[in-house]
Point group: C2
């Protein structure tokens, strides 16, 4: 029993928490030491329960999975974080790995994949869902510093663009000249690698910049 893998579950959906518990409790080498419905609660539980592996969802209220992962890795480096989520967008994956997650699984994973992934994570090994792995590799072709995230001001501008404002309207709304708006947009297009505002909106939504 001292060799059991101690698992903590973090997910805001009761259904999912119950499901994971149900899947793990009939495996002899897992011990569920707690569950939380947000990142903040998770940090408290980690402190007192000392899990080996944390199963972490990404989209949660109060504190999301990215931020929680970052804190876990900095405060308790021996605790491994395994992401288990529905979403597999490029930025979700990249930022999660960047935050220190040891693996990334999707919720449509079959039971055995989940079991194997937890065991691998407890040994510090990485496990990625196949679709996640391919997306990650595709992104690796561009070095990380080319991730090119937008400044706050640029996001302000792009949000107004996505709402149908002309450059003139945007200038008035932000109390800056049209020239500045155009400059911001030129930078936005470069950073997102798109040719115009319509595709910039699409790209930004995909990267989760406009929620």
């Amino acid at each position: 029993m001292t060799n059991d893998i101690r698992v903590l579950i973090v997910d805001d959906h009761p259904v999912v928490r119950t499901g994971i518990i149900g899947m793990l409790e009939n495996q002899p080498d897992f011990q569920i030491v707690g569950d939380a419905d947000n990142g903040e609660m998770a940090l408290t539980l980690i402190k007192e329960r000392k899990p080996d592996v944390v199963l972490m969802d990404l989209r949660m209220p109060v504190m999301d999975g990215i931020e929680a992962t970052r804190r876990v890795r900095s405060d308790y480096p021996q605790v491994q974080v395994l992401i288990l989520t529905t979403y597999d967008t490029d930025t979700d994956i990249v930022t999660a790995i960047d935050a220190g997650a040891v693996g990334y699984l999707l919720k449509d994973a079959p039971r055995n994949t989940l079991y194997d992934a937890i065991r691998a994570a407890s040994r510090g090994e990485s496990v990625l869902a196949p679709s996640v792995a391919s997306r990650l590799l595709a992104h690796m072709r561009k070095p990380v510093q080319e991730q090119n995230q937008l400044s706050e001001r640029e996001i302000d501008v792009l949000r107004l663009v996505s709402e149908g404002n002309t450059n003139k309207h945007i200038g008035k709304a932000l109390h800056i000249s049209v020239a500045t708006v155009k400059t911001h947009l030129t930078h936005i297009f470069q950073k997102l690698d798109v040719p115009d505002r319509a595709s910039a909106v699409r790209e930004a939504i995909e990267r989760g910049l406009l929620t």
Copy 2:
């Protein structure tokens, strides 16, 4: 036991199926008669297991929840369909209700809400998650025929717009003249109630038209 509510679970995520089963099996008045990971399999199971209530996810491979709901309601009108999903976009909700679902819950619903909803559904009563109810009411202000969905061709055009193509490029790609592209766009703007292509892309993505 003949008064048990017979429940069928349809969801492509093993974790979620396990979770729902775990939640329902300790309630004395529920009997789980089967589970399926897509709509097609669900229809087969319904035929032989005769459930009272089907818990249905929306996004699934092979046959999605909307189409499955439609068929269930036309082939087995006595079977009630209760949507249980992660997504609460306007179109998901409206089309699900339109397809004949008796209720619409989100996966972050607490246990008791789920229990109550299944019992209500078995009596043919409607249960909506609070956030769903408010969205639905907001949409009801506009009559249904004003739903204004885009034609296939218009979606073709808008998709190319979202990828950064100019009208000229779009014309060549679709083998039509620039004038026609502009006509389509004018109609798109009217239907989506937006002033330009950037906001049209945003609106279309929000309505789930560009996935």
